[in-house]
């Protein structure tokens, strides 16, 4: 099963390449391929814990499941926007397989090779958008940091196995993970458009890296990121919810949750990629599907995001009240999380109130509803297939949510003439792209190229060194 789940995305990329080269009418075929890719991603989430060792991979449930979720979300974006032709499907397929193998590779050389391949594919996906320099810079920066933190840490340790980096290397790995999962989507959002699939893939890459390097939760980083997330939430609310601001808020929040508890990193990562995918689809729904988007962003139960918040709060609370722990940062995290939940409700309501227009894309609206289904099913049933902290089990008691759903529907249907929305819904959403001066645009492109070439050269050098000593 492992070859299918890991390499299936690549096979779909080959099929899309065939379409690109030889077919003229590709819309339906691309959609079919993308839906298959989405199913493969979901299958990897469900089966990640049970996959055995295959070639250079090792059974590693959490990183594999996260890679599957990221690939599934990216494929969903391709499926609902097939008008862009086969190119996004080709690159998404390559990125999906490379990310899955980066997540599960046992040895450092294949890890770096697949990581570089995934990031190059993400960069190619970004290139399909209109504004690219910031996004290229983000991806190249993450790539360079991953190569140094993982590759040179292993080199210093005189080993070829993927090790847990320590000291400065760990700091750099944390930086790369936060950048990919948290802050840099702020920059990648600039490329939102044809290459929107890059956003969940890059976010997934950050969480995969965090799950791979292991270690204990870090309350100081979590508290810092939570404060940043609250500031971004305020910015998003003031800016009337531009895509860039909401995306950055969402990504920073989930990165903070991942640092607060590693036990729940899979559900946190899944919540993150679902949220960023919903935000990436936002501009094309033209305000439609707003309820589904609002619920996804609101952190309300029974979504998987709420389960992630509960897991983080439980961990922070138990550490803050533990006699053995005297770290005030845990108390700060426990105190900040209710604020984060409230910020989610406010932003979610704002997203659910955006103005509608008639020129929306129906498939995109359907895709957003699909993401809500994924968020709810993930919140209610994910504990059955992935390892979660015990407290999460209490967030999905079998009868409470169905009872709430039935009661809500019955009462809503039987209520005569309900109050309708306030007359002035918020304005249609804007992406909020930065207008960079030309010189800065060029400089960023050059820096991205230097970082990217440097990272690839370092991977090549490590590969040759490894081959010369026969590391396999």
């Amino acid at each position: 099963m492992a070859p299918v789940l890991y390499l299936g995305h690549g096979a779909l990329a080959l099929a899309a390449t065939f379409l690109y080269l030889f077919a003229t009418r590709t819309r339906r075929a691309v959609r079919f391929i993308a839906l298959l890719g989405c199913a493969l991603g979901i299958a990897l989430v469900v089966g990640a814990d049970d996959i055995g060792m295959w070639r250079t991979t090792t059974p590693s449930g959490a990183p594999g499941a996260i890679a599957g979720a990221a690939a599934g979300a990216a494929w969903l974006i391709v499926a609902v926007r097939p008008g862009a032709g086969p190119r996004p499907a080709i690159v998404t397929g390559v990125a999906g397989s490379a990310l899955a193998l980066f997540a599960t590779s046992l040895w450092i050389v294949p890890t770096l090779l697949f990581g570089a391949c995934a990031l190059m594919a993400i960069a190619a996906l970004v290139s399909l958008g209109a504004v690219r320099s910031l996004a290229w810079f983000s991806v190249a920066g993450v790539g360079a940091a991953i190569v140094v933190s993982l590759g040179f840490a292993a080199w210093d340790a005189h080993g070829w196995g993927a090790i847990e980096p320590e000291g400065l290397y760990r700091g750099l790995a944390y930086g790369a993970a936060i950048a990919a999962a948290g802050i840099l989507p702020l920059l990648v959002w600039q490329a939102v458009g044809v290459g929107s699939g890059a956003v969940p893939l890059l976010a997934g890459c950050g969480f995969v890296l965090l799950a791979r390097i292991g270690g204990d939760p870090d309350p100081r980083i979590a508290a810092g990121l939570l404060i940043l997330a609250l500031a971004l939430a305020a910015g998003a609310w003031i800016s009337r919810l531009t895509i860039v601001a909401v995306g950055a808020w969402s990504s920073a929040t989930f990165a903070a949750l991942a640092f607060a508890t590693r036990d729940a990193i899979v559900i946190t990562a899944i919540a993150a990629v679902v949220a960023v995918a919903a935000i990436a689809l936002w501009p094309y729904s033209r305000g439609r599907g707003r309820l589904s988007r609002g619920l996804i962003l609101s952190f309300a139960p029974p979504t998987v995001a709420f389960a992630a918040v509960v897991a983080a709060e439980a961990r922070a609370f138990s550490q803050a009240t533990s006699a053995a722990s005297s770290d005030g940062a845990w108390a700060a995290v426990a105190a900040l999380l209710p604020l984060v939940l409230a910020a989610g409700v406010i932003i979610g309501c704002g997203a659910a109130r955006t103005g509608e227009s008639d020129d929306f894309e129906p498939e995109v609206v359907l895709g957003t509803w699909g993401l809500l289904v994924a968020a709810v099913v993930g919140g209610a049933f994910l504990q059955a297939v992935v390892t979660v902290p015990p407290v999460v089990a209490h967030t999905s008691v079998p009868f409470v949510y169905p009872l709430a759903l039935v009661a809500g529907i019955v009462v809503a249907v039987r209520t005569p003439s309900p109050v309708e929305a306030a007359a002035s819904t918020d304005a249609p959403v804007a992406i909020g792209v930065l207008a960079l001066p030309k010189w800065l645009d060029r400089t960023l492109t050059v820096v991205a190229a230097v970082l990217g070439v440097g990272a690839v050269a370092a991977v090549g050098w490590l590969t040759l060194e490894g081959l010369s000593v026969g590391f396999l």
Binding site: L291, A300, C349, A412, V413, V419, E420
Partner: protein, 210 residues
């Protein structure tokens, strides 16, 4: 359509929060906050964004006030909080004095937040007063459950009557207060929310240093 969805989400929130508060199922205190988050989200669909922002802020203060009790008893689990009060008595009345004072401050903060939260709902004078009253009852039940304790500590009619009186008083105070902040001035609602936040933070600090 948005109006019906709003009602459905609010009712779902009442069922989720009520299910945990009434002890129909066990779980962490955050589940109650989650139910209130759903109610707030449902109301946010039909009110202006400034009302939604204030309701969200009140939700955070209410969550913080409830969290102080969890901090006081060192447990995040609602049934354990209920259980310890069943044995030792209401959180508000159990010493030492500093902790009881902290609980009182948190209860005051929670009450202020409940008043603001109720005041930011769609106008109950226009429609769906019953739904708003259910939300008020749910908010009062949350405060009474964590600050006063469970209704049932054994077959003691006086105990049950006192509990019911506490619930009725909290709900009535919340409803009356919300009418006041709705009618007087919007600045009053923001001030009440800020005062509630200050009380909750002070209470948490008192518990932490004791």
């Amino acid at each position: 359509m948005t109006g019906r969805i709003s009602i459905a989400v609010r009712v779902a929130g009442i069922v989720v929060a009520g299910g945990y508060l009434l002890g129909l199922t066990e779980g962490p205190l955050m589940m109650v906050v989650g139910g209130f988050a759903l109610m707030t989200f449902g109301r946010g669909l039909v009110v202006e964004r400034s009302h939604e922002a204030l309701a969200g802020a009140a939700l955070a203060v209410m969550a913080a006030a409830l969290g102080v009790v969890a901090l006081r008893w060192g447990t995040f689990d609602l049934s354990e909080i209920r259980g310890v009060q069943g044995v030792l008595g209401p959180t508000l009345a159990v010493g030492p004095e500093q902790l009881a004072t902290a609980a009182g401050a948190a209860a005051a903060g929670g009450m202020a937040a409940l008043i603001v939260w109720l005041g930011e709902a769609p106008d109950p004078a226009v429609d769906h007063r019953w739904l708003w009253l259910f939300e008020a009852a749910c908010g009062a039940l949350a405060l009474v459950t964590v600050f006063w304790g469970p209704a049932w500590r054994g077959f003691d009619l006086v105990d049950i009557a006192v509990w019911a009186a506490a619930l009725a008083f909290t709900a009535a105070f919340g409803v009356a207060g919300s009418f006041l902040v709705r009618r007087v001035h919007r600045g009053l609602a923001w001030s009440a929310c800020a005062a509630g936040a200050l009380a909750s933070v002070t209470a948490a600090a008192l518990v932490a240093i004791s």
